[in-house]
């Protein structure tokens, strides 16, 4: 019952948010100077050619009418046609989405591992030098955004000790047997570990750059929360039962401490996904973000619209999932 109610309210606000995003992105990009049609025609095209092509893309109608056409299309799953590639926007966007999703999820996993390890180590050795060192590292990681970490990583592991690839998603000369664009997952499923290793070597640095700030946030919040939990009565009671410190942290404190961290991590994960835009550009990674920047540079209006909407959908979906997860993981809410 409460889950259903939360879901309903959230779906409603989500719909309002998405509608707002659609309106803003549509009208903002119509103000972009530079005629996309003129850009795609060869030099020397006549006014008539431009007008004809504009009519083809519906760009000759009044703005409101254009908006109406676009929205009704979107509601039917038609996001229009890309001006530069003349392919359906939906196909283009969904073709790139797996790359960005894989990158984001890999970054999230890295952040959870790094941040979790930092929090657990800091709690285990709290009050000592180890905790101090972890706090300083966390502070640094948090202060500097993913873009700069990406550049630092390029210098360290791309130039100084070149162990990872600094551009692309996969070595271009490789023969890819994939039927989906989820290269990372599909290579595993097909047991092509050679390809998998190549893909990971490409993803490692962009994912790590995205992960570092989030890892610091997780590390800080979780450690704080763990330290508070460690003073609670049920933890003390567990100690009298004969459990060691590490066991007490993992078994008694971690789960309860992780809950409050979770909601904050949800919002932060959407920031991480937003960060993929520039990180993909930095590492020439063929994902949504990279395509988005190209679309802006080429004034490919339908494509821009499609990508922004997709990002908005992902963001709101992540927030929704986190809220539901919180409800499911918290026994008090589950039965309440």
């Amino acid at each position: 019952m409460p889950i259903l109610r939360i879901l309903l309210v959230r779906l409603l606000t989500t719909a309002i948010t998405l509608a707002g995003v659609a309106v803003i992105v549509f009208f903002v990009i119509r103000v972009v100077p530079g005629n996309p049609i003129a850009m795609m025609l060869p030099p020397g095209a006549t006014e008539e050619d431009i007008a004809r092509l504009s009519a083809l893309y519906g760009l000759d109608k009044p703005l409101i009418a254009q908006f109406g056409i676009w929205v009704s299309g979107v509601l039917q799953g038609d996001f229009g046609t890309s001006i530069t590639t003349r392919q359906p926007v939906l196909d283009l966007v969904l073709g790139r989405l797996p790359a960005t999703l894989e990158l984001s999820i890999m970054a999230l996993v890295m952040a959870m591992i790094l941040g979790g390890a930092a929090a657990l180590t800091g709690t285990r050795y709290r009050g000592g030098r180890t905790e101090g060192a972890i706090d300083v590292a966390n502070g640094m990681a948090l202060s500097v955004p993913d873009f700069l970490w990406g550049l630092v990583l390029i210098l360290l592991f791309g130039v100084l000790v070149p162990v990872f690839h600094i551009s692309g998603r996969v070595t271009p000369s490789l023969d890819l047997p994939f039927t989906t664009n989820f290269y990372l997952f599909e290579s595993l499923l097909r047991l092509r570990f050679d390809l998998w290793a190549d893909i990971v070597a490409h993803m490692f640095m962009p994912a790590l750059a995205l992960a570092i700030p989030l890892a610091a946030i997780i590390g800080q919040l979780l450690k704080q929360s763990l330290k508070e939990t460690m003073n609670l009565d049920y933890v003390t009671l567990a100690r009298t039962k004969g459990y060691g410190e590490t066991r007490v942290i993992l078994r008694e404190a971690l789960r309860n401490a992780a809950l409050p961290t979770l909601t904050l991590v949800g919002v932060q994960f959407t920031f991480l996904i937003g960060g993929t835009v520039i990180i993909e550009r930095l590492f020439s990674y063929e994902g949504l973000g990279n395509m988005a920047i190209d679309a802006v540079i080429n004034r490919d209006l339908p494509l821009i619209q499609g990508i922004v909407i997709l990002f908005a959908v992902i963001f709101t979906a992540v927030n929704l999932i986190v809220d539901l997860l919180y409800t499911v993981l918290n026994p008090r809410l589950r039965h309440g």
Partner: protein, 288 residues
């Protein structure tokens, strides 16, 4: 009962926090001085190209030319002079964009949090919508709309980042508004505006100052990112982001073109952020 003495650990943390505050402030002060005095202290003309002096390494590496301390880029422009001049753009953006964003965001947050009702409804909905945009893409889009240039960057930062202030200030104004001192001010006959400005604002101010410091760091990064995708101000003017963008493409041939602007940018962003964190630990009862 004997009085408990403050434990040693605490004062140590205090001292470290103080050091952090001074180091960050020192770096930023140095940067300001460099930016103001750029035309006089830069060893070379930052725009002067000399293809015969392209990709000179920094002074301690074999093949360096005297006078080009940190080497040159592929067009033979002096890296150090470009970093010094780049500080002007970076700091202008940080100060101007940061301050305007702060004013806009904090006012909206304060109004929403204190007045509640439909004003709050509208503003919170707007914040939600803004949060659903990927910020980097949004800023690139705005620059495409506004055209390149310093003013465009500042506008883009304000338009995108006002929510950072509005979110926190709104929540805080709400919390403060529920407190007894606000009620008693109203009972004592203060108007709504008066209560907001005279009673609530002073209590939220430390939070706002900390956020402002953090926002300045973010503004520097945003400018660098926009320069990086070649959408910042004109390509001739030296900016750190533009230098990084050039350095990124030639990193295997001339690492110094990337490394030095990157270090400068890194330290500057770190300094703004640590200044904010330091101020937060010291003065801000809310965010701490």
């Amino acid at each position: 009962m004997a009085e408990a003495k403050p434990l040693d650990g605490r004062s140590l943390v205090r001292r470290r926090a103080g050091l952090r505050l001074w180091l960050s402030a020192g770096w930023l002060a140095l940067l300001c001085a460099v930016a103001l005095l750029a035309p006089w202290i830069a060893p070379k003309d930052p725009l002067a190209q000399d293809l015969f002096l392209g990709r000179l390494p920094p002074f301690w590496v074999q093949g360096a030319e005297p006078g080009y301390w940190l080497g040159t880029d592929s067009l033979g422009r002096d890296v150090l002079s470009r970093i010094i001049h780049g500080a002007r753009v970076a700091l202008t953006v940080a100060l101007v964009a940061g301050t305007i964003t702060c004013l806009v965001g904090a006012s909206l947050g304060l109004i929403a949090g204190f007045l509640r009702g439909w004003v709050d409804l509208v503003i919170s909905r707007l914040i939600d919508i803004w949060m659903a945009f990927p910020p980097v893409l949004f800023s690139i889009l705005l620059i495409a709309v506004l055209g390149p240039g310093l003013l465009s960057i500042i506008i883009a930062i304000v338009v995108i980042d006002w929510t950072r202030f509005a979110r926190v200030v709104r929540a805080e104004a709400m919390a403060q508004g529920a407190m007894d001192y606000v009620a008693s001010a109203r009972v004592a006959g203060r108007g709504r505006l008066g209560t907001m400005v005279r009673e609530i604002l002073p209590n939220v101010l430390p939070t706002i100052v900390v956020l402002l410091t953090l926002e300045m760091g973010i503004a520097v990064i945003v400018e660098a990112i926009l320069s990086f995708v070649n959408l910042s101000i004109s390509t001739d003017d030296p900016t750190w982001g533009g230098m990084i963008s050039e350095g990124r493409t030639s990193v295997h041939q001339a690492w110094w073109v990337l490394v030095f602007p990157l270090i400068t940018l890194f330290l500057t962003v770190l300094a703004f952020s640590q200044l904010g964190e330091g101020l937060k630990d010291r003065y801000d009862p809310v965010l701490r």
